[in-house]
């Protein structure tokens, strides 16, 4: 009878451990052994961090009450001696997803070694409303192909391996009976890496003036500016302050490669990357580009909102 009861408990505890592991694949136990060299009521945790590179030297961790900054020495390993008990750890390394462990129990004079798998932080953003305008010198049959580095693309008008249409010098694009002013696409994709030392701080109330000024400098017509501003203006105006930066031309290939046949004389691409911020920080003027509108000209603009920055010190 006694044996039966013990077996029953063992089964329960096994099941609950299995569930715990499913929820926490990023931190798991490698070994647990008795170490009598430890003080009688103490225990030792060793955390081995996986997935880091040599430049990751700083770890911020907490085991409940206080948060400690720790500099790795030769290895990406953290050793902690604590009274035996149950602890929940949080690990943070810049550029990686934060890890929060479950409650890890340790017995007196035991040494537990855990593997912590760090994953690169990649924010998924939405590349919104890139529109493409085409202005040939004379009526021209054009084919446009996009290779989007993202998911769930939306196109308008309908895209079948390419867009094929006749463009005229005023920028009207004729698809059979229908006429459009632009081609439109949108997709979800990885956010680009941005150097937050460069860019602009733009107050919400100042959005329209700022955009008119910058788009003018880039060489947008007032109609193109209106399309851009009526799309982005209301979104930026909702925040007190925004960080704004622009990505130009070849750098936009990161989002999507654009092939146009016949080859235009000038292609200008710009993506506005922006995010709400709580307080400003020092910024250097970014390198801005200006479009050349000579000959068969193509303009594409789009943008992406990144998550808000609440603490400028994070930058």
């Amino acid at each position: 009878m006694k044996i039966l009861i013990i077996l029953f408990f063992a089964t329960v505890s096994f099941t609950s451990t299995a569930l715990e592991y499913k929820r926490l694949p990023s931190c798991y136990l490698l070994s647990d052994s008795l170490d009598t060299s430890l003080p009688s009521d103490s225990a030792m945790y060793t955390f081995e961090f996986n997935g880091l590179s040599e430049e990751n030297t700083q770890l911020i961790y907490s085991s409940g009450t206080n948060t400690i900054t720790y500099n790795f020495e030769n290895e990406h390993t953290l050793k902690l001696i604590l009274p035996s008990g149950k602890y929940k750890f949080e690990f943070y390394i810049s550029g990686y997803d934060e890890i929060v462990t479950g409650k890890l129990e340790i017995q007196k004079q035991h040494h537990s070694t855990y593997r912590v798998q760090m994953e690169h932080q990649v924010f998924k953003g939405q590349m919104k409303k890139p529109v493409i305008y085409l202005y040939p010198k004379e009526n021209l049959e054009v084919s446009v192909q996009l290779n989007i580095h993202g998911q769930d693309p939306f196109y308008y008008p309908e895209y079948k391996n390419s867009w094929s249409f006749t463009a005229d010098p005023t920028g009207q694009l004729k698809f059979g009976e229908s006429t459009y002013n632009y081609l439109f696409w949108e997709a979800n994709m990885d956010a680009p890496k941005i150097d937050h030392n460069y860019g602009f701080m733009v107050e919400g109330d100042n959005t329209v003036t700022f955009l008119e000024e910058q788009l003018n400098l880039m060489g947008f017509t007032s109609k193109e500016q209106a399309d851009f501003i009526t799309f982005w203006g209301p979104q930026l105006t909702q925040n007190k302050l925004n960080y704004v930066n622009f990505i130009f031309n070849e750098a936009c290939d990161e989002f999507a490669e654009l092939s146009i046949s016949p080859q235009p004389d000038n292609i200008f691409r710009v993506s506005m990357i922006w995010q709400p911020v709580n307080e400003p920080w020092e910024l250097e003027s970014p390198l801005m580009e200006k479009m050349n509108r000579n000959g068969f000209t193509v303009l594409e603009w789009g943008g992406m909102e990144l998550p808000a920055i609440y603490d400028a010190a994070e930058i």
Binding site: Y156, E158, A226
Partner: protein, 153 residues
Amino acid sequence: MGFGNATYNYLFWEAKSTNSIDISQVKTGFFVKNDEVISFLEEKLTEAGLTSQEQADFITFWAPRLNQNKLNFIHFMFNQTCNRLAELNISPTPDNIYRIYILWSKVDEEFEIDEQKIIRANREGFTVIEWGGQHHTMIQKKYKFIGINMCLI
């Protein structure tokens, strides 16, 4: 349209509306699945008499939002009924003013409702077209005004 040196294709405004319309009280409308959003809007906006350029402005604004839901309920507001959201005065008086707003809400399943008749724009003479829309949440009954574009031709 010329504003000094600047030329625009349309006037644009947007506001949070204080005068809300209760979408659950409307008597007519449509149910549209996400993969039918574009063809539905093209069909109805063609019926309404919008040009392909106006349709593109409308569809590229609203379709990516509607596409996020498996099923949407859609109701259109036309002409004078739009005054409940905003009155529009134009001088000199145009020969024809046409206003069309899309009200839409995500729904889990279809319910019984009559299909709505689309009113067509009369585009003779000095014509004004205004389009816009409002996203609704049927269950929570929260109303937020998202956008309106206006087009002078």
